[in-house]
C-alpha cells in the first residue's frame, strides 16, 4: 500500500494562492461573506498565510523588507490528534495514510478542531452557499464509502470538513486504470493544488517508494515539518527557504 505524501518547497512558492483557488473549486468549499471571514469563519482547506503568524510579517527595514509565506493543507499526521479525539470515528486514517472525514457520521462536537495543532479542520457554521452563478459550477464528483459521504460533494451544515489530499481523485484514477485493464501507477494521482501550482512548488507521491520524488525530497537537508514538536508526527513535508 502506498503512503501518500505532499512536499511543499517554500523556496519555489510565490504565495500566488492558486492552490487555494484550485482546492476551492475542486472540493466545493463554501464561500462566506467578508464579515464572516473576518470573524474567523472562512473555510480554506488550503490556506496561504504569512509566517511567523503572531508578529508583523514584514521583516527588515525599508527598502530591504522580506515577508515569508507558507501554505497549509492538512498535515495528514501519522499520530493524528483529531483521529484520537473523535468520539464516533468520523475521522480516520485510511490504509494509505490519508486522514479522511465521514461527513454523514460527524456529530459536530468540534473536538477534532480543538485538538488539531495546525488549525486545518473547518466547521460548517451555516448551511453552505455560493454567490451568483458559482453555484452552477460545483464539482459534480461524489465519493461515498459504505453509503457515507466522504468526497467533494457539498457538505451539510454542522459538520467538520478538511483537506483529503483530493482522495476522490485517487479513487477515480484507480477506476480508470481498472476500466482500461492496466495497473494503476502512483503518478496518475495528484491533488488539485499540486496539479495547479504555478511555481511547481508542490510534489506528491508515495513516501514508501524509495524512488519517488517525495521520498527523495524527504531526505533533503531542507526537509522539515510544521510544528515538529507537536507530537502529532505530521506527514506533509516542507522544504525550508534558504
Amino acid at each position: 500500500m502506498a503512503n501518500w505524501c505532499m512536499v511543499i518547497d517554500l523556496e519555489k512558492c510565490v504565495a500566488c494562492q492558486a492552490c487555494s483557488v484550485a482546492c476551492r473549486m475542486e472540493n466545493n468549499t463554501p464561500v462566506v461573506s467578508p464579515e464572516e471571514a473576518k470573524n474567523g469563519r472562512a473555510i480554506r482547506w488550503n490556506d496561504v498565510f504569512p509566517l511567523p503568524v503572531h508578529i508583523a510579517p514584514e521583516q527588515g527595514e525599508y527598502p530591504n523588507v522580506k515577508t515569508h509565506y507558507a501554505t497549509r493543507p492538512c498535515m495528514h499526521c501519522e499520530n493524528a490528534p483529531c483521529v484520537k479525539t473523535c468520539p464516533v470515528q468520523a475521522t480516520y486514517i485510511d490504509e494509505e495514510g490519508i486522514v479522511r472525514q465521514n461527513y454523514d457520521r460527524c456529530i459536530g462536537c468540534r473536538f477534532c478542531t480543538v485538538s488539531c495543532p495546525y488549525g486545518v479542520r473547518y466547521f460548517n457554521w451555516y448551511a453552505p452557499q455560493w454567490e451568483g452563478t458559482l453555484e452552477n459550477h460545483l464539482n459534480p464528483d461524489e465519493l461515498s464509502v459504505n453509503g457515507s459521504l466522504e468526497g467533494p460533494a457539498v457538505r451539510p451544515v454542522g459538520v467538520v470538513e478538511k483537506c483529503t489530499y483530493c482522495v476522490h481523485r485517487l479513487v477515480k484514477a484507480r477506476e480508470r486504470a481498472a476500466a482500461e485493464g492496466r495497473e494503476f501507477r502512483a503518478d496518475e494521482y495528484v491533488p488539485a493544488c499540486v496539479q495547479t501550482c504555478t511555481g511547481k512548488a508542490r510534489y506528491f507521491g508515495d513516501l514508501d517508494d524509495p524512488d519517488s520524488t517525495v521520498s527523495q525530497l524527504s531526505k533533503s537537508l531542507r526537509a522539515t515539518h510544521l510544528l515538529e514538536d507537536s507530537g502529532a508526527h505530521p506527514k506533509t513535508l516542507y522544504l525550508a527557504e534558504g
Binding site: E36, F49, H54, P87, G108, Y118, F123, G158, G231
Partner: protein, 500 residues
C-alpha cells in the same frame, strides 16, 4: 416519651406540597419568562446552524462548554454532602441531604443539555452509541456522566423512599387521586419495618461508597477533555485535581444558595435547617477555598516563571492581557469570599473605630468597584504606567478597607453573608472555567489570535439553562419534601437516646 414527629411537623412539611398558591404560580411564571427567549433562540439555532453564536476558528468552543463544566462542577455538592458526610456519620447533614442529592441530579441533567446545545448535529446524538470509540476522551465523559446521573438518581430515590411512603400515608383526603397513586406506586410497598430499614441503610451506604469515585471520575474526565489535547495552557497534569477541587468549592456554594432559597420559600423549614448547618459547612467552605487558592497558585506560578514560548502567551493574556479582568476579577471574588467566611468565625466584638463602620465599608466597596472597572476597561487615557500603578494601589487599599468595614455586618448576618460568599464563589468559578477555556482557544499556535464574545443567543441560552435548573428544583419540591423527614426523625431519635 413524646412522639418524634409531631402534628406540627406534618403541617410544616407536608401541607405546603398540596397548596398550589399564588407564590408557586408566580415563581413558575417568572422562571418561564426567563427561560422562554433562550428556547426560542435555540430553535433558531437548530434551523440556521451554530453560526448564530460567536464561535469561530480557532475558538470552536465557547459559552456552552463553559456552562457545561460549571454545571458538572456544581453537581458535586450532592456527592460530597450526602455520601462523604453519611459515611463519616456527621449528624448535622441530615436536614440538607435531600437538597444536596437533588442538586447533583438536576445539575447533571442541565449539563447534558449543554452538550446537546453545543453539537453541530444534535440529530446524530445516537451516533455516540452506535459508533462510539472508547479511546476518545469525549466518550469517557459521556460514559461517566451517564453513570453518575444514574447512580445519583438512584441514591436520591433510595433516600426519598421512606418519605414517599410517609407522603402516601399523610396525603390529605382532598388531594387529587393521581397524586395518591403516584406516591403509592413510587413507595414500592415501603412499610418501614425493621428488615426494610436495615436493607435501606445498607443500600444507602453502598451507594454512597460507589458515588464518591464516580463523582471524582466525572470531574477528572471533564478536565481530560482539555489536558489530553496538545494545546498550550491545557497541557497540565494539575487540571484533573484542580477541577475536582473547583467542583466541590462551587458545589458547596450552590448548596448554600439552594438551601437558603428553599427556607425562604417555605418559612417552616427554618425550624429544621438551623444556623448550625451554615456554621459547620462554612468550615468545609473555608478549607476548600484555601485548597483552591493553592492549586491556582501552582498553575499560575509555574507557567509564569518558566516563560515557555507556547505556554506563556496564554498565561500572559490572563495576567496582563484581555483576560486580565476575568482572571483578577475571579481572584478578587475568591479573596472576598474567603474573608467573609473567616470573619464569620472570628469573635464578634463591638468596634468603635470608624474604619469598622458598615457605611465606611459600603463607600469603600463602591470605590473599589469603580477602580476595578477603570482598570478593567483599559482606557487609553489611563495607559501611563504611573496612573495604572496608582489605580492598582488605590484598588488594593479600597478593597481591604471595604472588607474590614463590612466585617461587623458580616458577623451580624450569618445567612445573608454566607449567601453573598456563595454567590461570589459561583460567579468566580464560572469565570475560572472561562479563564481555562478562552485564553487557550483564542491563542492558537499558527492561526492569528482572535477574540470571542458570546452573542445574544448564547447569553439567552445560558440564562435559560439556569432558569430550567431552578424550574426543575421548584417543581420537584412541590411533589417531594425538600428536607428529609425520616432523617430528621432519625436524628431526633438519636438525640433522645443520647439525652436520655
Amino acid at each position: 416519651m413524646q412522639p418524634i414527629l409531631t402534628a406540627q411537623d406534618r403541617e410544616n412539611l407536608v401541607s405546603p406540597l398540596f397548596k398550589f398558591d399564588r407564590q408557586f404560580w408566580m415563581t413558575i411564571a417568572v422562571l418561564s419568562v426567563i427561560t422562554l427567549p433562550g428556547l426560542a433562540l435555540y430553535v433558531r439555532q437548530l434551523f440556521l446552524g451554530l453560526g448564530v453564536t460567536d464561535l469561530n476558528r480557532p475558538v470552536f468552543w465557547g459559552a456552552y462548554l463553559v456552562n457545561f463544566i460549571f454545571l458538572i462542577g456544581i453537581s458535586m455538592a450532592g456527592t460530597v454532602i450526602s455520601a462523604v458526610l453519611h459515611l463519616l456519620h456527621i449528624e448535622w447533614r441530615r436536614p440538607i441531604t435531600r437538597i444536596a442529592e437533588s442538586l447533583t441530579v438536576f445539575g447533571l441533567m442541565t449539563a447534558g443539555l449543554q452538550i446537546i446545545m453545543d453539537m453541530g448535529r444534535p440529530d446524530r446524538l445516537l451516533n455516540t452509541l452506535i459508533y462510539g470509540r472508547l479511546q476518545a476522551p469525549l466518550m469517557w465523559d459521556i460514559a461517566s456522566l451517564t453513570l453518575y446521573l444514574l447512580t445519583a438518581s438512584f441514591a436520591l430515590y433510595l433516600q426519598l423512599l421512606p418519605d414517599i411512603a410517609f407522603m402516601r400515608d399523610s396525603t390529605p383526603d382532598n388531594a387529587p387521586t393521581w397524586r395518591k397513586k403516584l406516591y403509592s406506586t413510587l413507595s414500592l410497598g415501603w412499610r418501614g419495618n425493621k428488615e426494610q430499614w436495615a436493607r435501606l441503610e445498607k443500600a444507602i451506604t453502598a451507594v454512597s461508597v460507589i458515588l464518591i469515585p464516580i463523582g471524582v471520575s466525572l470531574h477528572t474526565v471533564t478536565s481530560w477533555l482539555f489536558s489530553t489535547t496538545v494545546q498550550p495552557g491545557w497541557k497540565s497534569t494539575i487540571l484533573g485535581p484542580y477541577f475536582v477541587v473547583g467542583a466541590i468549592y462551587s458545589g458547596i456554594g450552590l448548596l448554600f444558595i439552594a438551601v437558603t432559597f428553599a427556607t425562604q420559600y417555605n418559612h417552616h423549614l427554618k425550624g429544621y435547617i438551623t444556623d448550625t448547618f451554615y456554621k459547620n459547612l462554612g468550615w468545609i467552605f473555608i478549607v476548600m477555598s484555601f485548597v483552591w487558592f493553592y492549586f491556582t497558585l501552582n498553575e499560575t506560578l509555574v507557567v509564569t516563571t518558566e516563560q515557555e514560548t507556547l505556554e506563556f502567551p496564554v498565561m500572559a493574556a490572563k495576567l496582563f492581557g484581555e483576560f486580565a479582568p476575568a482572571f483578577w476579577g475571579m481572584n478578587v471574588l475568591m479573596v472576598a469570599t474567603t474573608w467573609i467566611l473567616i470573619a464569620l468565625k472570628l469573635p464578634n466584638k463591638a468596634r468603635s473605630n470608624p474604619l469598622f463602620k458598615t457605611t465606611t465599608g459600603l463607600v469603600m466597596t463602591a470605590l473599589a468597584v469603580v477602580t476595578f472597572i477603570a482598570l478593567a476597561l483599559n482606557i487609553p487615557a489611563l495607559h501611563a504606567s504611573l496612573v495604572k500603578t496608582v489605580l492598582l494601589g488605590a484598588f488594593i487599599v479600597f478593597f481591604i478597607l471595604a472588607l474590614l468595614g463590612l466585617t461587623g455586618w458580616f458577623q451580624a448576618h450569618l445567612i445573608p453573608s454566607t449567601v453573598i460568599a456563595s454567590a461570589f464563589v459561583l460567579f468566580g468559578m464560572w469565570l475560572e472555567r472561562w479563564n481555562i477555556l478562552m485564553p487557550t482557544l483564542t491563542h492558537a499556535r499558527i492561526i492569528p489570535y482572535t477574540t470571542y464574545f458570546p452573542t445574544v443567543t448564547e447569553v439567552a441560552l445560558t440564562i435559560s439553562t439556569f432558569g430550567i435548573l431552578t424550574l426543575i428544583f421548584v417543581v420537584f419540591y412541590k411533589f417531594f419534601p425538600s428536607i428529609s423527614i425520616w432523617e430528621v426523625e432519625a436524628g431526633r431519635a438519636l438525640e433522645q437516646k443520647n439525652g436520655g
